[in-house]
């Protein structure tokens, strides 16, 4: 494995100066350590003067073993995460001009094609079964048909019992690992979906804006959900810096974040982006209640569970708004996007289950990734 040494050791800005507010640290992330030839190529491409070359990316992609599962592959998902992150907070050591560099976008497209192809293949069967649910009811409104099919997917693609495990059995170290790897998404919670707003019209746009306003604190800065998650990390003795735990995060969990960027950064995927959001919100409320109970059981400070408690109530609302108002209005106005919504929902459920399985299997096999907590 050709790992490139960039001459620095930290994966994110570790601002230990208490005088500097955390809000000023967020942009100060550096490229993570590569985890294989593809992410090494990605990292060097982003910092070299030559820039990335699709030919070299193709060579590395072809070099992946036929048995390589790109959805859980650390090297692959980390590469994609780096390329997507240029559109969010960027990296201190990468020229921000590269965000819209055609060579970078062409390389990202190669990775996205592989990722999307796999997602289509793996969600085809459940999505097809969900579509058949509609034919059993006559004269149904498009929004009601969709709600029924989304409900079927959620019921039949339910993941392993991660939340009950965290509630009743997880050790303190396992809970910390869970909180740390989830930070890759929760510290930019809802940001991918803000890219979708200009791609919508009318009722669906109003519904998404209503959800985002709540996610972004409804006018109250301390209630910004990303900040609540940072507060939870800090109270647990973990690092709240953006991207601090990317190095610890398995490919399967990076994939749950990357899929949102894939769906939300492409206008053609707007239906799938909303389907993903609906499935995410509809499978959040009850698990969040269990996770909060597990955090209380382990005796963490109140601020750690506060984030999850907020989501019990918030996501009970968001579930209804996302399925009925957001996706329902979208397919009423644009019936051709119906299957896209189901695809996005199936992607969310499939990847969440996979990431949960990976964590649980790892813990069962005694694999733990110390996240260095316990302040």
């Amino acid at each position: 494995m050709a790992v490139v040494d960039h001459g620095y050791t930290c994966v994110a800005h570790r601002c230990k100066d208490p005088a500097v507010p955390h809000s000023l640290c967020w942009g100060a992330m550096r490229l993570p350590r590569p985890r294989g030839p593809l992410s090494a190529l990605t990292a060097t491409s982003l910092i070299s003067a030559v820039g990335p070359s699709t030919d070299r990316f193709l060579v590395e992609l072809d070099g992946l073993a036929p048995s390589c599962d790109v959805i859980v592959n650390d090297d692959f998902q980390l590469s994609l995460w780096m390329l997507y992150e240029l559109h969010y907070r960027g990296f201190d050591d990468v020229d921000p001009e590269l965000e819209w560099d055609p060579r970078v976008l062409a390389c990202r497209r190669l990775l996205e094609r592989r990722f999307e192809h796999e997602l289509r293949f793996r969600t085809e069967a459940p999505a097809q079964k969900a579509r058949k649910q509609a034919h059993q009811v006559q004269n149904q409104q498009p929004a009601d048909t969709l709600a029924q099919q989304l409900g079927w997917l959620i019921e039949h693609m339910e993941g392993p019992r991660l939340a009950p495990y965290l509630q009743r059995e997880a050790t303190r170290e396992e809970m910390l690992e869970f909180l740390a790897v989830r930070s890759v998404y929760h510290l930019k919670e809802s940001d991918p979906h803000s890219f979708v707003l200009p791609r919508l019209d009318g009722g669906a746009k109003v519904a998404l804006a209503e959800l985002q306003y709540d996610e972004y604190g409804a006018g109250r800065v301390p209630r910004l959900h990303q900040t609540l998650y940072g507060d939870a990390l800090e109270a647990a003795g973990l690092d709240r810096s953006y991207g601090a735990y990317v190095e610890h995060t398995p490919g399967s969990t990076l994939a749950t974040s990357n899929v949102m960027s894939l769906l939300c950064l492409h206008q053609r995927h707007r239906g799938a982006a909303l389907g993903h959001l609906a499935a995410f919100e509809a499978t959040s409320s009850a698990p969040c209640r269990k996770i909060a109970a597990g955090i209380d059981r382990l005796g963490f400070p109140d601020a750690v569970a506060a984030y999850w408690r907020e989501h019990v109530e918030a996501d009970a609302v968001h579930e209804q708004v996302a399925i009925r108002d957001l996706c329902g209005r979208l397919v009423t106005d644009a019936p051709r996007l119906h299957d896209d919504v189901l695809f996005g929902a199936a992607c969310c459920l499939y990847l969440d289950a996979l990431a949960a399985t990976h964590l649980l299997d790892g813990w069962q096999a005694g694999r733990r990734t110390p996240v260095g907590a316990g302040r």
């Binding site: 409804a218 409320s285 009850a286 209640r289 019990v312 109530e313 009970a316 609302v317 209804q320 708004v321």
Partner: protein, 73 residues
């Protein structure tokens, strides 16, 4: 749904409380500032839209906590 809701005094003139029942789910309420529960206690509305429990099983009364999905009568 028994909880009375009070319109926000700070809302633009003519704006009313909007109530949207969800089939086999809660009632979504927009534009309210206060919700009164069955015991007459006031609950401040702090988000743009709230979901009021209609199944009576919530642990966060008067707000929905998603428990209705696990109730099979």
């Amino acid at each position: 749904m028994t909880s009375p809701v009070r319109p926000g005094t700070g809302t633009p003139r003519g704006r009313s409380v909007q109530v949207e029942p969800c089939p086999e789910g809660p009632v979504l309420v927009r534009g309210a500032e206060v919700v009164l529960d069955a015991d007459g206690h006031e609950h401040e509305v702090t988000r743009p839209v709230v979901a009021l429990c209609t199944c009576g099983r919530t642990q966060r009364d008067p707000w929905c906590d998603g428990t209705h999905k696990f109730v099979r009568d």
